[in-house]
């Protein structure tokens, strides 16, 4: 067994002229782990993936894979399989030839190649399609062929570059499970780049949230969602209300006309500007008693019906949409919430995150 991380990235930097796409990024990936690089376009996630693959060489920094320094190795001498958003299947070769493309160059006996191709196609659930050409397959099927091709040489590392972005929502949800299942079965260390938070939350063991060339947070999906390390993460992953507030005392802040208790360490001093973050689903509307701590009287200004829940805009004082709240259909029905109504809500202290500085428009 390997001791320590399987893949280790140390102070990786990538410069395009004056623009730094990666600013001294460091990261460890354990053997068998499924890691997602999540971030908006231009955050450097794809650049990082391509540096790991050796397709775009980093400006400085070190990459270790399986105890070997691969920083300066060309892609062809590294050990990885890769799947692209565009599938990049060879259009003039049929499915079997695509999957066996790397095997043929290994000069393996023909029968062995055929057996391996069959095995791989079975693995991705396409045993019947070996003779077809890529253009004859659906997008989802093509991506599974690409996956089989990437796994053909049993690489130590599987890289997925937005593999699901070109697919329909339904196929995407299905393939999400499929890839996850494959990963559990093969145990291959996997890195997936995505801009889709839902994909990252459902698939990853750990998420690496990136923004403007730096890593904002590394953590399990639950950690990233529950305890975002920065306002950026809170905003990018899920929906968050950002409130401009001022520290008035220990664990006490002032927001609008309200005094709110929240949990923060002694960092911010009284008088300092801070940002409160609370998720719409964390606003409580049931069993709130008037006069209790962290309660507020708000007015329903708009209700957006979203199927299993409603997103409700709440007006506070002069502000017509100071807060967004997600109320389940149950709550809406039970409390007969309707537009123009006045509600008493509470903002639970343990659900409020505090970030330094005034809120920025993200």
């Amino acid at each position: 067994m390997l001791v320590g991380p399987y893949l280790s990235i140390e102070r990786l930097r990538k410069q395009f002229g004056d623009f730094a796409a990666l600013k001294d990024v460091s990261l460890d990936v354990m053997s068998g782990e499924f890691v997602c690089f999540l971030g908006p376009s231009g955050c450097g996630k794809t650049t990082l993936l391509r540096a790991i693959a050796g397709l775009d060489v980093q400006t400085s920094g070190r990459i270790m894979q399986g105890g070997r320094d691969i920083s300066n190795l060309p892609a062809s001498q590294r050990d990885f399989g890769i799947v692209f958003q565009s599938y990049a299947l060879f259009p003039n070769l049929n499915v079997a030839s695509n999957v066996g493309y790397g095997l043929v160059s290994r000069r393996l006996p023909r029968a062995q190649i055929a057996a391996r191709v069959t095995e791989l196609l079975k693995l991705v659930g396409l045993p019947e399609e070996a003779a077809k050409y890529p253009a004859q397959l659906s997008g989802g099927q093509q991506q599974r062929v690409a996956l089989a091709r990437a796994l053909a040489l049993s690489p130590g590392l599987l890289l997925l570059d937005e593999p699901l972005s070109a697919l329909d929502a339904r196929v995407r949800a299905y393939l999400r499970l499929e890839i996850r299942r494959l990963h559990q079965r093969l145990g291959v260390t996997t890195i997936m780049v995505t801009h889709d938070q839902e994909e990252a939350l459902t698939m990853a063991d750990r998420i690496v949230v990136m923004n403007e060339g730096v890593i904002e947070q590394i953590g399990t999906p639950l950690e990233v969602y529950r305890h975002p390390a920065s306002a950026f993460v809170a905003d990018f992953v899920g929906t968050t209300n950002f409130l401009a507030a001022q520290v008035v005392g220990d664990g006490l802040v002032r927001f609008g006309g309200l005094s709110l208790h929240c949990e923060f360490d002694s960092g911010p001093q009284p008088g300092q500007q801070i940002t409160l973050a609370i998720r719409p689903e964390d606003l409580v509307v049931r069993n709130v008693s008037a006069g209790a701590a962290n309660t507020a009287e708000v007015k329903v200004t708009h209700i957006e019906f979203l199927g299993s829940f409603c997103r409700v805009s709440l007006g506070l004082g002069e502000q017509p949409a100071a807060l967004l709240a997600d109320f389940s259909i149950n709550v809406v029905r039970d409390l007969a919430i309707s537009q123009g109504q006045t509600l008493l809500i509470s903002l639970p202290p343990d659900r409020i995150r505090v970030f330094p500085g005034a809120p920025q428009l993200l």
């Binding site: 693959a53 060309p74 692209f84 299947l89 790397g102 160059s105 040489l153 690489p155």
Partner: protein, 551 residues
């Protein structure tokens, strides 16, 4: 750095070296020659001063510009309406009209000039129509140029009008725009860049063409014939070099302007566009049919006239048909050998050229890193488009004849003609290859690297097969152009390598117009057969190896 990377760098360096040797250095020699006297001493701008102060020489600049602008002004609207009829109407016989209009591309530029001489020349049977104006001169040149440039402009405009988003038209209709307004606000802007490009192409073709002015120009001097006169007639190479550079200026300006304007072009057609399918409109379709019949009819008459002239015993006294004019040995010392030289040249240019162009474009499109080399090579590959054939040919004389040039042995051989033709037609071939390569997924090379497969294998196993139609297009383009070109090779042929198109010039000069027409028809027939073979072969190959394209 792995093997593929080294190969790539070496390849790009080779490509740069090749273009340096076949394009940049010869042009440099030409430029320096224009600053020297006959003894090879540097005399600064003296040659240029003499050029611009000699009215008889300088007049050619205006003549050339006049002819070029007038031809452009005539061809552009004609070709646009013709292309519009083919792409945006429900006119009948579209296939026939398209084929007819594109035939002249297979002919040397000399052919329409010869036809016009038969129609309107001193013994032409429509001479009375000319009201005493001589066909030898600007009139003959412009009419011949119109015929010669029409298919080139048509091809660009056909492409520009080929695709349109029908939803733009539906939106315009829904907003109550009149037909004229829709045309002015939707159709025309969509074809704007095609029109600009076609305009520049016509302008450059006319200003650099040598054959037409030579055959039908009479005493009307243009830049292209001036070079020829200075170099061949007066053996004044230095003045030839000066005229060459003067000729280079409008061509380079037109080329640069076109590139800049094309750079502004944004894709009007997104992937989600709904292609426009023309709907029948009786009055428009009939009007366009009449127009195309007139234009197509004239093209047919010019072609038929040349064909007939080549078969007539002695114009205009004995009109019985004969094949005697095809016995070229009677009229020109080289006889049929000139024709076979041309076929040889065309075949070699097509074979070697396609390989060089495709590998070159592959290196530039499909590999990464080595940015400096890439930029230089890309620039060099675009340059030949701006260099007139005559100038390139002249530059070759200077460069390959220069004392101490280790490649001097090439002079006077078939090889130099092949190299010259390939360089002359490099840009269009390169663009065709680049476009085809750009359409492939950008990650094929990355996938290959991850699968430990060499670039070379992926190129032969995937890239080349997928690009096969483009490869065939390139080879046919090189073949036809090498077969028909006059300007690039007129300075470079030797007695052993005289070409068919040059035989036309020589025979015409010697007064053997009918055999000249016969040779022109032979070239057309050859190009046409090769083109037809190409179409059939492409279809077969597509059926056999491109099966994957069908769903």
């Amino acid at each position: 750095m792995d093997r593929d990377d080294l190969l790539m760098r070496a390849g790009i360096c080779l490509l740069i070296g090749w273009l340096l040797l076949t394009l940049i250095l010869p042009l440099w020699w030409l430029l320096s020659k224009s600053f020297q006297n006959q003894n090879g001493e540097f005399i600064g701008l003296a040659n240029y001063l003499r050029y611009f102060s000699t009215p008889s020489l300088f007049a050619s600049v205006w003549n050339s510009l006049f002819i070029a602008v007038l031809t452009t002004a005539i061809v552009l609207p004609l070709a646009f309406v013709y292309a519009y009829a083919l792409q945006r109407s429900c006119m009948r016989f579209k296939g026939l009209f398209q084929a007819l209009a594109l035939i002249p591309i297979l002919a040397p530029s000399l052919l329409p000039a010869i036809s016009l001489i038969y129609l309107f020349g001193n013994q032409g049977f429509l001479k009375d129509w000319m009201f005493g104006v001589s066909v030898y001169g600007p009139f003959g040149i412009v009419v011949s140029q119109v015929f010669y440039c029409f298919p080139h402009a048509l091809m660009i405009l056909l492409a520009a009008l080929s695709l349109a988003d029908s939803r733009l038209y539906e939106a315009a209709d829904a907003l109550g725009a009149s037909k004229t307004r829709v045309f002015l606000t939707v159709t025309l802007p969509g074809a704007k860049y095609g029109l600009i490009s076609a305009g520049f192409v016509i302008f450059t073709l006319v200003i650099t063409d040598f054959g037409i002015a030579k055959v039908i120009g009479g005493r009307f001097n243009v830049l292209a014939t001036d070079i020829f006169k200075q170099v061949i007639g007066q053996q004044n190479f230095e003045m030839g070099a000066v005229v060459g550079f003067v000729l280079l200026i409008p061509a380079v300006v037109a080329f640069a302007a076109d590139r800049i304007l094309q750079g502004r072009q944004v894709a009007l057609l997104s992937a989600r566009a709904v292609p426009l399918v023309p709907k029948p409109a009786a009055r428009r379709d009939w009007a366009l049919l009449v127009f195309c019949t007139l234009v197509g009819g004239m093209i047919f008459i010019v072609l038929a006239m040349a064909a007939w002239a080549s078969l007539v015993t002695r114009w205009p006294y004995n009109l019985t048909l004969t094949l005697n004019n095809y016995a070229f040995g009677e009229f020109d010392s080289d006889g049929w050998a000139a024709y076979w030289h041309s076929v040889q040249l065309a075949a070699w240019t097509a074979i070697i050229g396609t390989a060089v162009v495709f590998v070159g474009a592959y290196l530039l499109e499909k590999t990464r890193a080595f940015a400096a080399g890439r930029v230089i090579a890309q620039f060099m590959a675009m340059l030949p488009m701006a260099v007139p054939g005559l100038v390139l040919g002249l530059a070759y004389i200077f460069f390959f004849n220069a004392k101490g040039n280790p490649f001097g042995f090439l002079y006077g051989t078939m090889a130099i003609l092949v190299i010259n033709s390939l360089t002359h037609f490099y840009t269009v071939s390169h663009l065709t290859a680049s476009t085809a390569l750009k359409q492939l997924d950008h990650e094929f090379e990355a996938v290959s690297a991850s699968l430990k497969v060499s670039l070379l294998r992926t190129m032969t196993r995937v890239t080349l097969p997928v690009c096969l139609p483009a490869v065939l297009d390139i080879s046919i383009y090189l073949f036809v152009n090498a077969m028909t070109t006059v300007s690039a090779v007129i300075f470079l042929y030797s007695t052993d390598t005289k070409l068919a198109a040059i035989a036309i010039v020589n025979m015409d000069e010697a007064g053997f117009t009918a055999p000249a027409a016969a040779m022109a028809m032979t070239i057309v027939a050859t190009s046409a057969s090769v083109k037809i073979a190409h179409v059939l072969l492409t279809r077969r190959l597509e059926r056999r190896t491109q099966g994957w394209r069908r769903r």
